[in-house]
Every structure is written in structure tokens, then in C-alpha cells.
Subunit: 439 residues, 2 copies
């Protein structure tokens, strides 16, 4: 793939250049541009290219681009989207615009989109495709394939074919692969898998995506509360969900909210906004550390040397806490750690923290002794052991407790844990110092 | 899905219980057990169940389980794996064991596996499937479908069918979906896509996976340096690669190496080992902060109050740095930020840091004034502005520079940035304090 950036000055040259690029490269380039520039380039695309590129863009970009196009073009692009992608786009838009766009759709697309929008956000219902080819168990291979040929054009996937009874209740799944290999007169019932996993339409989208990943399947059927088939979630939608959820976890571990859009398409203000509240809250929480230190000001005045080790000690505690928190958040995300595991996890992490603290405590003894004598060495060493253990306990406990009260564990991961460990670590440090130095 | 844990005591009851569970639930439960317990449960499974469960397990678990089974059973399980999954398993094993297992394979499987193992680690060649159904452009739909029926049983995917010329050079791709809808006498050439993306066999596996995700395709063809088709990478392998890469990024952002195995299957010692080096290196780097503070000990002795704000200031700087670093690492991972963007990114992040620092600087003025007077308020406020700006600059620059020298950007993200910002932040703090307070 060539990495030449698109030229911007000469429009004719640009149009020429665009016609030779594939849609993905154009979509990639668009995502890296300033908004104004983006619309300009998009308008230069041929009708087919515009559609191909549009389908590859993020919902946030789609929304932005539509703002700069003529009504007829907007209608055409929106009509071409799959219902689930359309629902995602509509989520980004004000209700008045959505109403107008819905009104412009063909009746069938309008109906399907409105149905998806009726399901809760982040549920299976929002990411499923309501267009599928349904088989019944008594069909022969020939009949089934004929039906796939007749109805397959429109469906999002025909590689996983749900099988239902007459009341639309899901009874199994047939893979197209098996259907093709089946002799003409054999029936769907003979090859359908009945041990198939199905998800409820109100199931959380991340759980659905993880299930698709764990099972290595191309699609999962979605059923309503009566077990009736309502849609299929496909693997490409699962990948998008996992990407978004992982962006969220990573951003929060780094003390920010996810941007939800490509980096260069976010303004300086967008970036600052995604971080401002976090930074402010953490700074307010850090006032705790000022309070703790104030309480020990007389100790500090007596032995100023103690101040020299404050950043090192709280930094190390913060890192140990971040390690535990990040491990636990990740393991919870992939469902390796579950609600009932709190005690088991906290005990494990506490032992890991103790082990790591003991290592650092022993290693620090000689250098600190040389720097400030045996008593200081003892204080620092004991503090390292205690702080690392404490940090691992807090770091593992906080995400677990967060989930218990319905908060995203990543919200109280590394940065929050660090701030809490800072304050308690200082308390531990000065208590140990006072005891050892006899102040 | 029921969440009842598997009973452990009564073997008969356990066997009974296992026979009613699906493979995914059993695989999930196995992953949460202690190693010894795991082998015991696995041996209770029926032959078919054992295979189904084995295929769903991580390579690390597969390796462990094989150690406790009879040779014949091992041979059978290994023979059933796809060549790419087998290559992944062999990566986990000592060379002597791999040689023995290779010798036990059927000639064809041995040949294919040895071929994959010949490609560099983390390359497309390692995750591709060398079993595919190849079409030629002149085939009619009927001929092509007949070939799919004949050869499809063995291939990992038949949903994306590569088309080659007589010398095996890739010329296009046909989706099975289009092939099925095609009239019997029309040819493959009419429906094949020639603008298809292909990847080189030595391409980095993460890039391949991201391409599959961006294109929403089920498989990508892999070619050698002469453009000859050698395999197909499927979407399920892409998902596994992305999961592993994301685990790596998240772990390193949290100052640890990825475990590469489920949480509960890692021992306390495994956990400590994945973190020890990080913690130690960061603590050694933190000695910088002791040095900076030593240099300013006279200032501290004169105004002990300055010490009270150390954790708050460096904590805030650390958070601002972590925010920038995490955003940049993530945007680099998804290829939104590229090598040529360094200046653009650093300037953006610097402005975001300045904006956030200014916000905190203004908000802190009144409370600090009330706490310690106008001069202290000025010192803290100026330090917050400077430290946040500096932190954002360092936080964005370090991952970008890391990649320039071939180091994973996540390695120098949040924790490393924090440690560096701690030391420079202290320097800034005391220089400002000395200037404002006239010490």
C-alpha cells in the first residue's frame, strides 16, 4: 500500500488521483483530515466510490459528512446502509434530523431501522441485522439453497443460516458450508446444529461480541423473550464492538474518556474535554495527600530528608496498584474474573504485592543505608513492603467493587487507585518513620 | 447460560454433569481452575467432547493439558488442529517435544505445519491457513461450486475463494455468496473482485488483523514475494491477534507484561514475574526524583510547606502525561497516527496540556491562597500550568520516538512517562518556588 498523502491543492489532479485509489485508502485519508477538508474531498468522489467510502467510515464521520451534502445524496447514502449501521449513525444525530431521515427511507428500511432503535443502547438488538435467510428443518438441501439464492441478496450474512419452526422460534443453525456439501435430497434437520448458542435481544453487546470471539463463529442468532428469532449479529459487528470497548478500557486506564472518533478528527477542545473532568477529579482527590502531609508537618520539619523519598515511594506504590488494577480490569473484561471471585482475587493480588514489595525492600536496603544511615534504610524498606502490598490490595479490590455497584471497573482503575494509594502510602510512610526514628 | 460451577468431589456426578454441558462452558470452567484440577476434569470428557473443548482452549492451556495425557491421545488431538493453531501450540513447547509431535503427524499435516513454522513469528504466515479452495477465472459457476464441494471439507474457509492464474499468482477473490447467486454458465471472471487486498506472508500479524477489521471481510489472501498464493488469514484468527495485541497494550499501560494466559491459570509467581522488572526499572528511574529533591533540600528546609504539595503536583503531571501517552499509543495502534505525524501530534498534545494546566491553575488559585497566601498560590498555579504542558509533550513524544527506534510504543507509555514527568516536574516546581519566593 502506498503511503503518499492525497494532494490538496489541485482539484483536478486530486480527482484523478482519487479515481485510482481504493475505498479503504480514501476512507483512511479522510479520517486523518480536518473536517472542512474532509467534505471537500468527499464531494469529488464518483457515486460508487462515495458509497464504498461512506460504508467504511465511522458513524461520527458519516454524520459530519452528511451535514455538507445535498438532501438527495444524503437520502441515497442512508438508504444504502445496513439497518444496524444506520441505527449507529442515527445515534450520533439530533432527534429532528433522525425523524427527517427516517421519513425519507423506503418503508421496509424505515420499519427495520425503527425496530432496532427501539432496543436499548449497547444491546444485541442494536448491532444485529434484522435481514436474514431463515430455513425450516423439513427443507431439502435443494429447497434450502433455492431459498438462499432467492433471499440471499439482501441478507447481511448467508453463511450462518438460522432454522426456525413455524412460529419463528429458533431450533438450530445451519452453516452454508455444510448445506453446500449436503446431498440434494437430504434435509436441513440432518445437518443443523441444535446445541447452538443464541443471545437475547437485550443482552449486553460486549457479552455477545465475546461469545462470537470465543466460539469462532461468523454469526449468532438473536431471539426475543419468547425464543423467536429477530436477527443475527455478525462477526464484523462483534469486532467493532470489541474495538470500541477496548478503546474505552484503555482510555480510562489512562485517565480519560474514549474519544469515540479518529484522533485527528477530534479538535483540541474535544481532546481536552475527554480529559478535563478526570484530571480535575483526580486533583481534587489528591488534596488528601496535602492533608496527610500537613498532619505530619512537624515530623517533616525535624527530618527534612524524609521528603526526598516521597515521590519515589508513592510512585512505586502507584505503579504496583496500577499493575493489579489493570490486570483485574482486563481479566474482568474477558470474563475470566467473575462476581464471586472477589476474595480469591484480592488474596492472590495481595500476595503478589507482598512478593514485589519484599523484593524492592531488600534491594533498597544497602543504597539507602549508604545514603542516609540504617534507620532511614529500615523506614524506606518497611514502607516499600507495606505500600506495595496495600497498593495491590486496593488496586484489585476497587475495580471488583465498582462492578458490584454497577460502575465500569476501568473507571476506578490505574489513575484512581494511584491517587488513593498516594494518600494511604504517605500515612504509612510517616507512621513507620515516627515509630522507627522515635520522633 | 447457567453459572453453576462444576462440582469437584464426586467424579461420577461430575462426568454426568459434564456430558450435559456444551464445550464452551467446559472450556471456560477449565480455564478458571488450578492446573492439576484441570487435567483431571479433562480426562473425564468423552472423546468428541475432549476434542471440541481442546479446540476452544488457549495454546498455553493446550500445552499444559497435553503433558498429562497418553501419547496416543496427544497425537490424535494435535492431528485434529488446524495447521495455524498447531503452529501456535508448538510455539509454546520445547523443541524436543515439537519434533516428536511433528513426527507423529500425517505427512500432509506435518508438511503444512513445518511450512508455517518456517515463517517469522507474529507474521501473516504464522496465522494463515494453508488449506484453501482455489478457483481459476475461466471456471463456470457450476464447475467452481463442484470444486468447492469436492475440496471444501478440508479448507478452513470456503466463504472467500481466492482466484489464481496457472502459476498460482493471485488475480482476484470470489465470495461464496456471489458464486451461489451466479447463473450456472457464467464464469468466475465475471464476479471476481480484482481490487482485492492481499498481504505479504511476512507482513506483521497486527497489520493484517487491522486490515481485516477495516475491510469487514471474512478472510484475506496471503501471497509470497512473487505474488503466489500461499494461504488465507481468516477473521477468527484476526480477532485472536487483536485480542492479544490489545492485552499487551493494556498490560504495558499498567506497567506490566501481558500474561498471555487466563488469570487464574497464572501462578502468584507468574503474576509477580510479569511485573517485577517493570516495577524495579521504574523505581530505579524514580531515584532521579530523590536527586532533584536533594539538590533543593535547602529550599525545602526554609519552606517545609512546599513539601506538602509534592504528591499533588507530580500526581497531576503524571495523570496529564498518562492521558497523552495513552491516547497516542492507542491512535498509533489503529494506524491513525503515523511516522510522519510527530510534529503535528506533539503540537496538538502540547496545546491540550496547556489548556488543561490553565484550567487547573486558575481553579487552584483561591484555595491555595486561603491555605498558604498569595505567593504560594502563584507558585502552585504556575507549576500546574507548566507541568501539565510539559507532561503532555513528553507523554506524546515518547511513544512516537519509541516506534522510530523500533520499540513497542506501549512500553514507554503511562508509567514511564509518569516517572520522567515526576523528576522534571519537581525541578520546575522548585525553580518557580525559588524565583517567586526569592529564596
Amino acid at each position: 500500500m502506498t503511503e503518499t498523502p492525497l494532494p490538496v491543492n489541485d482539484l483536478r489532479e486530486l480527482r484523478q488521483d482519487l479515481s485510482q485509489r481504493d475505498a479503504l485508502k480514501i476512507a483512511d485519508e479522510l479520517a486523518r483530515r480536518e473536517p472542512a477538508n474532509r467534505a471537500k474531498v468527499f464531494r469529488l468522489l464518483s457515486k460508487e466510490q462515495a458509497l464504498a467510502v461512506f460504508l467504511l467510515l465511522d458513524a461520527a464521520h458519516q454524520e459530519e459528512l452528511l451535514g455538507g451534502l445535498r438532501d438527495e445524496q444524503v437520502r441515497r447514502l442512508v438508504e444504502e446502509l445496513d439497518p444496524d449501521d444506520r441505527a449507529r449513525l442515527f445515534d450520533e444525530m439530533p432527534a429532528t434530523v433522525v425523524r427527517k431521515l427516517l421519513a425519507g427511507l423506503s418503508p421496509r428500511e424505515r420499519h427495520l431501522t425503527a425496530m432496532l432503535l427501539g432496543y436499548p443502547e449497547e444491546s444485541a438488538g442494536r448491532i444485529m441485522s434484522p435481514k436474514f435467510v431463515r430455513l425450516v428443518p423439513t427443507m431439502t438441501a435443494t429447497e434450502a439453497l433455492a431459498r438462499v439464492r432467492r433471499r440471499g441478496e439482501e441478507a447481511e450474512t448467508i453463511y450462518a443460516l438460522p432454522v426456525t419452526d413455524d412460529e419463528l422460534r429458533l431450533v438450530g443453525i445451519v452453516e452454508l458450508r455444510d448445506l453446500i456439501l449436503l446431498e440434494p435430497e437430504r434435509t436441513v434437520a440432518e445437518i443443523m446444529r441444535t446445541d447452538t448458542h443464541a443471545v437475547r435481544v437485550d443482552e449486553d453487546q460486549e457479552k455477545v461480541a465475546r461469545l462470537i470471539q470465543a466460539l469462532d463463529v461468523l454469526a449468532l442468532p438473536v431471539v426475543d423473550s419468547e425464543g423467536r428469532l429477530v436477527g443475527m449479529v455478525t462477526v464484523d459487528d462483534a469486532m467493532d464492538v470489541l474495538r470500541d470497548e477496548q478503546e474505552e478500557d484503555l482510555a480510562r486506564t489512562g485517565a480519560a474518556e474514549p474519544l469515540g472518533r479518529p484522533y485527528f478528527s477530534a479538535s483540541i477542545f474535544d481532546l481536552a474535554r475527554s480529559r478535563a473532568l478526570w484530571l480535575l477529579m483526580l486533583s481534587v482527590a489528591a488534596i488528601l495527600t496535602v492533608n496527610v502531609l500537613s498532619a505530619f508537618e512537624p515530623v517533616l520539619e525535624t527530618v527534612v530528608t524524609l521528603a526526598l523519598f516521597i515521590p519515589l515511594l508513592i510512585g512505586t506504590g502507584g505503579n504496583a496498584g496500577a499493575q493489579s488494577a489493570t490486570t483485574v480490569v482486563r481479566s474482568m473484561a474477558v470474563n475470566e474474573i467473575r462476581a464471586g471471585d472477589i476474595l480469591r482475587v484480592v488474596l492472590r493480588e495481595g500476595r503478589v504485592g507482598l512478593l514485589l514489595g519484599a523484593m524492592l525492600g531488600v534491594l533498597s536496603l544497602t543504597p539507602v543505608w549508604l545514603f542516609g544511615g540504617p534507620e532511614l534504610a529500615l523506614v524506606i524498606s518497611l514502607t516499600l513492603v507495606t505500600v506495595c502490598t496495600l497498593a495491590s490490595l486496593v488496586g484489585s479490590l476497587m475495580p471488583l467493587l465498582a462492578r458490584q455497584v454497577g460502575v465500569d471497573p476501568a473507571v476506578v482503575s490505574a489513575p484512581f487507585v494511584t491517587t488513593i494509594v498516594d494518600a494511604t502510602g504517605l500515612l504509612v510512610y510517616f507512621l513507620i518513620a515516627r515509630a522507627v526514628l522515635g520522633i
